[in-house]
């Protein structure tokens, strides 16, 4: 039962960072990901509400299953956590309100709230975990900001498929590697035996992300394909590709060159695989955040009454996951037009 309690809490915490990390990262990079910010926000719109509840669930589980851990966490990182909640509220308010009224000032105010709130959430996670690591709170904020931003940028590459997103992702992966990794080492000097291997693994994963984000097909492929060269296309899906991709394909079909076409299809598959690898890498990279947090918490036993919560929630977990999977399946397509936000 103890193992189940730990696994359940760990599952929801890690799930939060993997899923919400992407929409928080997109919020951080909102000004850079494209001219049409409503389109950029449409990339995360269907997910952000369903993502943030993973953290709400984690907090509920923490109270019921591990009150001693909650006392330790909130006791040590009180200040950072209150900033976290404030930034979270600011960000959510911005997301919900931005699209509800026309007007330049209105949009700018809530864009500001989304961007500042997203950075605030990423940074206060860094400070929280930095405090748990025994100092260097602000230093680890450098790492979390880099990793959240990277995860968001890669998510934007996958969902929007624009060159702007890809260019941003390439910048961010460099920053995460060159600044984020040293920050993590600096924050974890208290226990380098634990921090150093994790930081090394993080560096390796980030190098992987960098390679995956490199320009597909090189400069030549880009020049030939124009803006469609980022190549996210689901061959075999009824709703695949955007109109732009289709027109590009029509053009190449009219060219009549079978060799050109097969070379292009190969590049598309290649681009799709690269995006997949980049997303896998940024996902893996952001797990370092909850991992370092968890490793630096004291060992405690679950509360006496934990069984009651576990008995009710255990059988429900597959249902919760199925509901979440439905959301991700329904909105798996690339974003083509603004949504409700």
């Amino acid at each position: 039962m103890d193992t189940f309690a730990f696994s359940l809490l760990g599952f929801f915490v890690v799930g939060y960072f993997l899923l919400a990390g992407a929409d928080i990262g997109v919020g951080m990079l909102l000004p850079f990901l494209g001219h049409d910010r409503r389109l950029t926000l449409a990339a995360i719109a269907p997910f952000f509400l369903g993502n943030e509840v993973w953290l709400v669930a984690s907090a509920g589980l923490l109270t019921a299953l591990f009150p001693a851990l909650e006392a330790d966490l909130f006791g040590r990182a009180w200040g950072a956590l209150i900033v976290l909640v404030a930034a979270w509220i600011l960000r959510d308010t911005g997301l919900w309100l931005r699209g509800r009224q026309e007007g330049r000032t209105w949009r700018r105010v809530w864009d500001g709230a989304i961007v500042a709130g997203s950075w605030g959430v990423a940074a206060s996670w860094g400070v929280t975990i930095g405090v748990l690591m025994g100092g260097g709170g602000l230093l680890f904020a450098g790492t979390t900001c880099g990793l959240f931003a990277l995860h968001g940028a890669v998510f934007a590459v996958v969902r929007l498929g624009t060159d702007a997103a890809r260019a941003v992702a390439r910048w961010v992966v460099r920053a995460a590697l060159l600044a984020g990794v040293p920050c993590a080492v600096g924050a974890g000097t208290d226990d380098l035996g634990r921090t150093a291997p994790i930081a090394a693994a993080l560096a390796a994963v980030l190098v992987g992300a960098w390679i995956a984000l490199a320009r597909p097909g090189g400069a030549e492929g880009r020049a030939r394909d124009g803006s469609a060269g980022d190549g996210w296309e689901r061959t075999g899906s009824a709703r695949d590709g955007s109109a732009r991709d289709r027109s590009a394909r029509d053009r190449s079909a009219r060219d009549g060159s079978a060799r050109d076409r097969s070379a292009r299809d190969g590049r598309e598959r290649n681009g799709w695989a690269r995006n997949g690898w980049a997303l896998a890498a940024s996902t893996l990279a952001i797990t370092v955040v909850p991992l370092l947090g968890g490793l630096n918490l004291p060992h405690v036993s679950p509360a006496d009454d934990a069984t009651l919560t576990l008995t009710v929630i255990g059988p429900l977990v597959p249902v919760l996951l199925a509901a979440q999977a439905w959301v991700w399946w329904l909105f798996r397509d690339r974003v083509e037009r603004p949504s409700y936000l």
Binding site: A45, L49, T63, A64, F74, G75, R104, T309, F331
Partner: protein, 388 residues
């Protein structure tokens, strides 16, 4: 003000704001679900427009409920560590169940309902709003189990390390949870009923879309009729289970009187509505009655807030009545830090409430054509915002 008083005020501010918006969420979700059911089974275009119009207002209102709820959940850990320390099982279990059994499902499906409007089969889309509604009720139930324990602790046993659950059955069927649930749900019907009827009356007075607003007015008034008597009955029945130490707070008696006066007024309006409802022509011709219904729109809020104040001040100076003192549960932090937190939250929430009321008003006035919710083709024009 002492640090304890500040911490209490901060929680009161959070919970009070949350409660006001959640009351409408609970009632309006039900009414939207009923209208959408009608729209799917044999309804016409007018029902679809009604779903989008009232659904839009529901979603705007929902956002405030979420963000205030976030702060409330985290406030237990941030400001009241004594609660989790002393009563992790009895208080923590209903909270954990609320987050996973209710809110997790509610938020996931609400996202699908909002963003999947034209992507989901209409029967599945209807199922979504019903799941959202039912989980909202489940949410209210679990929160009231936690709250009921504070007012009327049952099903626990004292051990060396704090309180343990002795009888889960007693904890989850606490009359101090079930009766307030009935009270809150009937109050939510009054809130949503007067919200819908009041806004419809406003439009009817201006001859906007008579069919849509006539139907909405009737639904709103029926919700009021369903809520008015149960709200008084469930309110009266819970007196034996709540530590109503009137006089503990100087404003406690005033709060109770305000609630009852507001109820008496709503009861009078409901009586007239009962007489008028069978006669549609008479209902629509009565301009004075329509004005009265519109003017009554804020009264359920007043009653809700006053009732909540009366109930929750009654148990002081106890956090868990007779078990844990409020002063023993608060986090011992500096006065300055607590003052900063209180001021920050107060300013943020004030802004949030003002902006959201303005938005609700704006979208209510715009009518169904102004609703962005469920609009199938949003304009894909780029905004004139500079990108850096």
């Amino acid at each position: 003000m002492s640090t304890l008083a500040l911490a209490r005020s901060l929680f009161a501010l959070t919970a009070g704001t949350h409660f006001l918006f959640v009351a409408l969420t609970l009632g309006l979700a039900t009414l939207v679900a009923i209208i959408q059911t009608r729209a799917v089974f044999g309804g016409g275009a007018v029902h679809v427009r009604m779903v989008r119009f009232w659904g839009q207002l529901y979603v705007i209102n929902y956002a405030v409920g979420i963000v205030t709820g976030l702060l409330m959940e985290f406030q237990f850990g941030l400001a009241w560590p004594g609660l989790a320390d002393q009563a992790p099982g009895v208080f923590g279990t209903p909270l954990a169940l609320e987050t996973l059994v209710a809110f997790f499902v509610e938020a996931t499906f609400l996202g699908l309902w909002i963003f999947g409007w034209d992507r989901i089969n209409r029967h599945a889309h209807l199922a979504l709003i019903w799941i959202v509604t039912l989980t909202a009720y489940a949410s209210a139930y679990f929160i009231l189990v936690a709250n009921g324990f504070l007012n009327h602790p049952v099903g626990y046993v004292r051990t060396g390390g704090g309180l343990r659950v002795d009888s889960a059955g007693a904890l989850f069927t606490n009359p101090a949870a079930l009766l307030p649930l009935a009270h809150v749900v009937s109050g939510a019907f009054l809130t949503a009923g007067f919200f819908m009827a009041g806004m419809s009356a406003w439009h009817l007075l201006r001859s906007h879309e008579p069919e849509l607003y006539r139907r909405s007015l009737r639904i709103g008034l029926i919700a009021v009729l369903l809520g008015i008597l149960p709200s008084a009955a469930s309110g009266g029945l819970q007196f034996p289970y709540a530590p109503h130490a009137t006089g503990v707070h100087p404003l406690s008696g005033l709060a109770a009187e305000t609630m009852m006066a507001a109820w008496a007024w709503m009861f009078a309006v409901a009586l007239i509505a009962l007489v008028k409802l069978p006669f549609t022509g008479w209902l629509l011709r009565g301009r004075i009655f329509l004005r009265v219904v519109t003017a009554t729109l804020p009264l359920p809020y007043v009653a809700m807030l006053a009732g909540w104040f009366y109930r929750e001040t009654g148990r002081q100076p106890w956090l868990i009545y007779g078990v844990l003192r409020t002063e023993d549960a608060v986090r011992p932090i500096g006065h300055g830090a607590m003052l900063a937190a209180f001021t920050g939250v107060a300013v943020l929430f004030a802004a949030l409430v003002v902006v959201n009321i303005a938005l609700l008003r704006r979208y209510a006035r715009l009518g169904p054509d102004g609703a962005a919710l469920g609009r199938s083709e949003l304009p894909a024009r780029p905004e004139p915002v500079p990108s850096f």
